[in-house]
């Protein structure tokens, strides 16, 4: 065949900018990089400024709105006294357990419903109904059989993670183009081969959307459940700070919670991109 010459003109995998780039191009990339790093910080910086002006001018009493500097000092104190790391460790452990449980169960249920209409007919209405009850609404009921210990917290977090994982896994499997099933049929794929080599890889993007949503939900549920029933963890720091009227502790704990949530989501995002190197670069 004589196709090689004409084929060679088409796109090669590498990004052209890195290879062909002169100094100007590198500078442009640098500028673009700085812009993507700095732009998301613009609004928080403005809020921080407003905050410090507000506490400087005494627009709100210091007990209600502590100065940014005080919160920073409190954060450092908590960090040094290792209170913070201990609480964060406990909270992360709970999320890890709950998310592992809820995520795994969600993937299983979602896959079962995606693969079998019968399973979907049996389970989908129930799951949709359950999803309508906010996670916190489950606490009073589950308190009775599970107590207020770790089991309750893990169960609540698992439930929070479960729902988006189930629904996105189901939608993801349903959205796999039937055309690809025919390709698999032509090559005589078995059911297991169809599942492992066509369905799962094709469903990775929505599946990960579900997992990320599930993780965010798990983290939010953690804070809620620690607020209600706990004597340790980041959520407990919030409660304790409020009871002591130490808003600097409350805000410090909130900062840490937000930071960890952001980190967890970014971490899963990295895994997602790694699994989807085949997708068109955004």
């Amino acid at each position: 065949m004589s196709g090689a010459a004409y084929a060679g003109a088409a796109a090669r995998p590498a990004a052209p900018g890195r290879r062909a780039g002169g100094a100007g191009r590198i500078a442009a990339r640098l500028r673009a990089g700085i812009a993507t790093l700095l732009l998301p910080l613009l609004v928080p910086a403005a809020l921080l400024l407003l905050w410090s002006v507000a506490s400087d001018r005494g627009w709100l009493p210091a007990q209600i709105l502590p100065a940014p500097g005080l919160v920073r000092d409190t954060l450092l104190d908590l960090w040094r006294s290792s209170d913070l790391t201990r609480d964060a460790g406990i909270s992360l452990g709970r999320v890890a357990q709950g998310f592992a449980l809820g995520g795994a169960l969600g993937l299983l249920l979602g896959a079962a419903m995606g693969l079998s209409r019968t399973a979907e007919d049996y389970l989908k209405p129930l799951l949709t109904a359950l999803a309508q009850v906010p996670t916190i609404g489950w606490v009073p009921l589950l308190m009775l059989p599970l107590g207020i210990g770790e089991t309750l917290k893990v169960a609540i977090i698992a439930k929070a993670a479960l729902v988006p994982v189930v629904l996105n896994t189901l939608a993801g499997i349903r959205a796999v183009p039937p055309a690809l099933f025919e390709v698999a049929a032509v090559f005589r794929y078995t059911r297991a081969q169809l599942l492992g080599r066509v369905l799962l890889p094709a469903a990775v993007p929505p599946l990960f959307a579900g997992l990320r949503l599930g993780l965010t939900n798990a983290w939010k549920a953690l804070v809620a459940v620690e607020l209600l029933a706990s004597s340790e963890g980041l959520g407990y720091q919030l409660v304790w700070g409020r009871q002591m009227m130490q808003m600097d502790v409350v805000i410090a704990a909130m900062v840490v919670i937000a930071a960890f949530g952001l980190l967890l989501d970014a971490g899963l995002g990295r895994v997602e991109r790694r699994l989807q190197r085949w997708r068109v670069a955004a």
């Binding site: 004589s2 196709g3 995998p13 390709v183 032509v186 794929y189 990775v204 085949w278 997708r279 068109v280």
Partner: protein, 262 residues
């Protein structure tokens, strides 16, 4: 699997009284009716018809993706009961797995082939080179042009060394230049390797330029209207006078097939 070179001995196709009906909105629709056709080993047959004439259904019956309601479809004497690695299929769209590289996509066709890993590797490399994509083994489908992706699909369709290659309007979505180039390449490949080929198209020129015989079909219900032999060797000249005359005959046959309402 068989060694290269012996494929020409296989690939005989027989259709006897084949009929196919579909239920559409509760109504029975006869898509194919009384199809009789014998395709000899190594022959290149094109199936020409307007959309809705059942030509794609006919190809899907040959692939084993559909089953006839009447009559029988045989490949090398055996009734076709389902898909099989002894028949290769190329769709109108490349239908590559987007998460696999070119080499992995071709190898995906060999998943259930009775070959050891080494033989599979060699078959994949050989067929990628055969369609002129050497050097693109590790590219992903989204990095390929439409023509390149369809070459990968052809390599994938041939990697099991099927006696029969089925193509469903494989060049319909390509630009004119790429289409002509791929037509030439497919015909050269077929002449060299000797696999029986059935190609479905609605393009009169393509049907005549590629086919040893052109089967013209009429729609609703899908029937064979005419079979036009093209007594020209390969390679062909697109401006050949005989092709021009046959073009008129084929167009006339096609025109007759169109219902008055159309």
């Amino acid at each position: 699997m068989s060694a290269p070179g012996d494929v020409a001995a296989r690939g005989r196709v027989e259709l006897r009284g084949v009929g196919k009906r579909f239920r559409v909105d509760g109504r029975e629709l006869t898509v194919l009716d009384g199809i009789d056709l014998v395709i000899e080993p190594g022959e290149f047959v094109t199936i020409l018809g307007a959309s809705g004439c059942g030509k794609s259904t006919l190809l899907r019956l040959l692939a084993g993706l559909e089953h006839p309601d009447a009559g029988e479809v045989r490949h090398d004497g055996r009734a076709i009961a389902g898909t099989g690695l002894e028949r290769g299929l190329v769709f109108q769209e490349p239908r590559l797995f987007p998460w696999l590289t070119v080499a992995e996509n071709v190898a995906a066709a060999l998943l259930n082939a009775p070959l050891d890993a080494d033989a599979k590797r060699r078959a994949v490399a050989g067929h990628i080179a055969m369609v002129g994509l050497g050097g693109f083994e590790r590219a992903y489908p989204h990095q390929l042009s439409g023509g390149m992706a369809q070459r990968v699909a052809i390599a994938r369709g041939l990697v099991n060394r099927p006696g029969l290659l089925l193509l469903d309007e494989p060049f319909g979505a390509l630009d004119a230049f790429t289409r002509e180039q791929l037509q030439d390449e497919l015909r050269a490949l077929q002449a060299r390797e000797g696999f029986t080929t059935v190609l479905v198209t609605h393009d009169v020129e393509e049907a005549l330029y590629l086919g040893d015989r052109v089967v013209v079909m009429s729609p609703r219900p899908g029937r064979i209207r005419a079979v036009i032999a093209v007594p020209l060797g390969q390679p062909r000249d697109r401006a050949d006078e005989l092709l021009g005359r046959l073009h008129h005959a084929a167009r006339a046959a096609l025109r007759d097939t169109l219902p008055l309402a159309a």
